[in-house]
């Protein structure tokens, strides 16, 4: 396993929205999907996922329904709502702008000043 990075505050919600946008998932699935799409580079304590999920449901960004998992266990599946999709788009843009700015700032060389 590669070295893992601590999650920045507020980024967990964004990751969850992204993971769910790729197809309905149950909680554990969200975790796996985040691991998969981030090459397991991010450290998320498993339990911490749920308060975030419930928060997103309360904000109307996700909706949930019970279903059956691939190995036949009952599990709750989450999918994006319209508001969630919009939020994901906005936050992605915001994050990209921030990342670009920080990256270019950190890439600055003495001679460029």
């Amino acid at each position: 396993m590669a070295e893992q990075a601590q999650l920045l505050p507020g980024t967990l919600d964004l990751l969850i929205l992204k993971a769910v946008s790729l197809g309905p998932l149950h909680g554990y699935g969200v975790l796996l999907r985040i691991g998969q799409i981030s090459d397991s580079a991010l450290l998320i304590e498993q339990g911490a996922l749920y308060p975030a999920l419930f928060r997103l449901v309360r904000q109307g960004l996700l909706k949930a329904s019970w279903g059956t998992s691939e190995n036949n266990r009952r599990a709750k599946f989450y999918e994006l709502t319209a508001a969630g999709r919009k939020r994901l788009r906005d936050e992605t843009e915001g994050w990209n702008r921030l990342a670009t700015a920080i990256a270019s700032a950190l890439a600055a060389q003495p001679e460029e000043i």
């Binding site: 149950h26 304590e45 308060p51 449901v57 190995n71 266990r73 599990a75 709750k76 709502t81 508001a83």
Partner: protein
């Protein structure tokens, strides 16, 4: 959309609380199962996989809690949780809970009582439609409520601001329904009274403006509902019946609605009659005398859109017209408006001041109680610092702990508030049913039933005080460092720093000392006023009221009958002296008249030499009342209509009009009608209208020379009877003698000192009672405060005291160590409170006669009281400190 989702979530949580919780738990468990499945697939056995899955999940409880919070709508749930926890902890310390609830019940109860009195007498309007636009008219800078009838008529007909103006007046009369005449209270009103107030009859009809056609033209009676109920047993056929009012036939027109008690808060009349029939009711008609200001009160509804200030300007312009047109009778005709109900500011002003003061003191009580509870809570928080630290260490947030502390505080204050309100309701019910003047005025009540507003105030006070004293330990909790506390046990704060608790205790004790000081000043003032010189001797004297005008005696026969009465009573064995007076001094106010020096030619009110109390007396009065004569002599029965007009004046009158008491004898003064009166004697000063008044000029005129014996409240003249034997026996003898004289004449007999207690000294007595109760509460609060502090400090230092004892400390040293601090704080607080109290009690001097803060007895009393309180409060803790057994204590550690 989002709000909708949030709302749905909230609703779901609220109504399906356990469902939601189960659902969440199921989801978390399913996560662990799914993870375990994966781990199992990677080769672990099932049990190990599940264990690993649980570990990887992290703090299950914590995330469950956080998830729960993330779902929102936790307020009620958390609240209930805190509530349950608070109830549990409070049950575990019943002593603390009891003391706290009791303290608050006392404080909030006191506030509820004072507030509902204030509410009933000042804040709540009269029970009439549109009471908010109803105003009483007051005259002059001293806000007199009495107007003359012609002035009223001018005000009514010339103003452009009022819908209508009514005049009314309270009087006593004898009502005979065919069996036996009984005295009753009535309101004489202008015939537009009910129409102007918008009252509709319950039964029959009311009289109207069109019923008035000059003197005695409207012999009608409208009954009050309660009187109809008690006197006529709800007999509906009473309408149209003719009854005898002071031996004149009056027709009962109807019954007023049940909730209409007239327009004076403290006196509900038995019935209403048109004021045009004044002659039949009072025995004389003064409705045409512009200068005669009886106690006719005026009020009315302002027209829609007219501001009170506009109405005052309007009235004042009529006033200046009246001054110009009637210079002889009208002066100082400026007007102001006030709320009706308490006879304007005559009673209302005093009442407002007194109740505001009382409310302030009650507020202080609550503040002291909050300080008390604050220090108790702070002590409790430091006792519970271990528990708090543990909860912090286990992951509870400080916010959550504070919330719980506040829940506990508010819970206590709510229970205290409920108990206090319940107590106050009982007290107020008693107060409302109470007839303080049962001997003279059975209709006088103190209508102070609590209403929703009172309960609301109690609730607000309870919650506010809960938050106030709950806030005291906040800093302490915020600073708790869980690691330190769990490691080393209790936090030991170093040194003898002054803590918040000390400050609170000093504040509390000084507040209590203020209350104790005020109550002592009040009690001293009352004692002094009971012993002071009124200018007459109320002990061993009776007031015999014989209603002459209500028995049908007219002007000429009154004088003859009066002489007859006096002679009859004089003949009763045990009676030493008898004299009549039209209205005894200190009997619900006094009659006054302006006088002029003999040299004054222009007899307009502004030229008057003095406004003197006026008493029409018979020759024996001074003897019977024991009023000392300073110079000159008395008049005799020969000073009648045929003889030159004479008077006895008091010292103040003599010095104001003639310069000195001695030069007055033989001097002449004039009355407003130009009558010249010679002074033949000077009597000592006395108290006339109120016990707190400054020396007032007074004149005593022979009743035989008065044009008429002007009606007073219940009786035309009162006999003052000096006795030297058992009052019971004499009073029975007088009654039977008078019945022989005239069987139809209502007679009332009361001891003079008792009557004074019920009237003139009533305000002082009530004030003293109220302040006494508040002082007692202050004392109780300071006891609980000192006791709490001392007991706490002893229990905290029990081990240290044990060591001291083991090392050979003497009893005095142990006590000094254990109680020195609380006692020092007590002394400090008492001193501060004493000084504040002495400053504050200057205010009392207005109400309580002779209340002076600079009284060595009061000072000593307060110091002694506070010392005693300290002794009582520290007694139990001291016993506990002294009984410390070092062996047991040291073994326990």
């Amino acid at each position: 959309m989002r709000a909708l989702a949030w709302f749905r979530c909230l609703i779901a949580k609220f109504f399906h609380r356990s469902e939601v919780a189960d659902d969440m738990e199921a989801e978390l468990r399913s996560h662990i199962q799914l993870r375990a499945d994966d781990l199992e697939r990677s080769g672990l056995d099932r049990a190990e996989a599940e264990r690993r899955a649980r570990i990887e999940f992290g703090g299950y409880e914590r995330y469950r809690q956080e998830s729960h919070e993330a779902l929102g709508g936790n307020f009620i749930e958390t609240f209930l949780q805190d509530m349950r926890f608070s109830l549990r902890t409070l049950r575990k310390s019943p002593g603390f809970t009891l003391v706290a609830v009791f303290t608050l019940a006392l404080a909030i109860g006191a506030n509820a009582v004072v507030f509902s009195i204030m509410n009933a007498l000042i804040l709540r309007p009269l029970h009439v439609p549109h009471a908010e636009s109803l105003y009483a008219v007051e005259r002059g800078s001293d806000q007199a409520i009495n107007h003359s009838f012609p002035d009223y008529v001018d005000l009514r007909d010339r103003n452009r601001s009022f819908e209508d103006l009514v005049a009314y007046n309270v009087n006593g009369a004898a009502l005979d329904t065919g069996h036996n005449p009984t005295s009753a209270w009535l309101m004489e009103v202008t015939a537009n009274y009910f129409d102007a107030l918008g009252i509709r009859p319950y039964l029959g009809r009311f009289f109207h403006h069109s019923d008035e056609h000059g003197p005695n033209s409207a012999p009608y009676i409208v009954l009050r509902y309660a009187y109809w109920h008690s006197r006529f047993q709800n007999d509906r056929s009473v309408v149209g019946r003719v009854v005898q009012l002071n031996k004149h036939p009056f027709t009962i027109l109807g019954v007023a609605p049940r909730d209409f008690q007239g327009t004076l808060l403290f006196l509900a009349p038995d019935f209403w009659v048109p004021i045009v029939n004044q002659e039949q009711v009072e025995g004389l008609n003064v409705l045409n005398e512009r200068g005669n200001r009886g106690i006719i009160m005026v009020m009315g509804h302002l027209k829609r859109g007219v501001a009170p200030a506009q109405a005052v300007a309007d009235l004042n312009s009529i006033g200046s017209y009246l001054e110009k047109t009637y210079p002889k009778d009208d002066s100082h005709m400026t007007f102001s408006l006030t709320t009706p109900g308490l006879a304007g500011d005559w009673l209302g002003g005093l009442m407002r001041e007194f109740l505001t003061g009382l409310m302030l003191l009650a507020g202080l009580i609550l503040l002291a109680a909050c300080a008390n509870l604050g220090s108790l809570f702070a002590a409790r928080a430091s006792d519970r610092s271990r528990e708090i630290a543990l909860r912090l260490a286990l992951g509870s947030s400080r916010r959550r702990i504070l919330r719980q502390v506040f829940t506990e505080a508010v819970l206590i204050s709510l229970v205290g508030g409920a108990v206090g309100s319940a107590g106050s309701v009982v007290l107020l019910r008693g107060l409302s049913a109470w007839r303080p003047f049962s001997t003279v005025a059975p209709n006088m009540t103190v209508p102070v039933d609590p209403d929703a507003r009172v309960y609301l105030v109690a609730l607000v006070l309870a919650v506010a005080s809960g938050l106030l004293f709950g806030a005291v330990p906040v800093r302490q909790i915020l600073r708790t460092n869980p690691y330190e506390v769990v490691k080393s046990g209790l936090l030991r704060k170093g040194g003898r720093r002054i803590t918040v608790r000390d400050l609170l205790l000093v504040a509390q004790i000084s507040i209590c000392a203020v209350l104790v000081t005020s109550s002592m000043v009040a009690v001293r003032g009352l004692v002094r006023s009971l012993r002071s010189n009124f200018g007459f001797e109320p002990r061993n004297a009776m007031l015999v009221g014989a209603s002459l005008s209500t028995s049908g005696y007219s002007d000429e026969s009154v004088s003859a009958m009066q002489k007859h009465l006096i002679d009859t009573v004089q003949a009763v064995p045990g009676v030493k002296a008898v004299g009549s007076v039209d209205r005894p001094p200190l009997y619900f106010g006094a009659n006054t008249a302006i006088v002029f020096t003999d040299k004054t030619a222009d007899l307009r009110p502004s030229n008057a030499a003095a406004e003197a109390m006026l008493y029409n007396i018979s020759p024996g009065y001074f003897d019977a009342a024991r009023t000392a004569l300073l110079a000159g002599g008395y008049f005799t029965w020969h000073d009648d209509q045929g003889a030159p007009r004479v008077a006895v004046v008091n010292r103040e009158f003599a010095s104001r009009v003639f310069g000195s008491p001695t030069s007055a004898v033989g001097g002449i003064f004039k009355r407003a009608d130009g009558t010249r009166i010679e002074v033949i004697g000077v009597a000592e000063d006395g108290k006339y209208a109120s016990v707190t008044e400054a020396p007032q000029p007074a004149m005593f005129l022979p009743t035989m020379q008065s044009p008429y014996a002007r009606g007073t409240h219940m009786t035309d003249s009162t006999l003052v009877v000096r006795i030297d034997r058992d009052p019971q026996q004499i009073s029975a003898a007088i009654k039977s003698a008078l019945r022989e004289l005239d069987p139809g004449m209502p007679v009332t007999i009361q001891m003079w000192d008792k009557q004074l207690n019920d009237s003139a000294l009533f305000a002082s007595r009530m004030a003293t009672l109220a302040l006494g109760v508040l002082g007692l509460m202050g004392a109780v609060l300071s006891i609980t405060g000192i006791f709490g502090m001392a007991a706490y400090s002893v229990s905290k230092r029990l081990r240290e005291l044990g060591i001291r004892v083991a090392l050979g400390a003497q009893r005095a040293e142990v006590l000094q160590a254990a109680l020195g601090r609380p006692l020092r704080l007590l002394a400090l607080g008492s001193a501060a409170g004493l000084i504040l109290g002495l400053l504050a009690t200057r205010v009392l001097a207005y109400i309580v006669y002779g209340a002076t803060p600079r009284d060595p007895l009061v000072l000593a009393g307060v110091v002694l009281a506070m010392a005693l309180l300290g002794l009582v409060a520290t007694w139990i803790p001291a016993q506990r400190a002294l009984s410390v057994d070092p062996l047991i204590l040291l073994r326990e550690e």
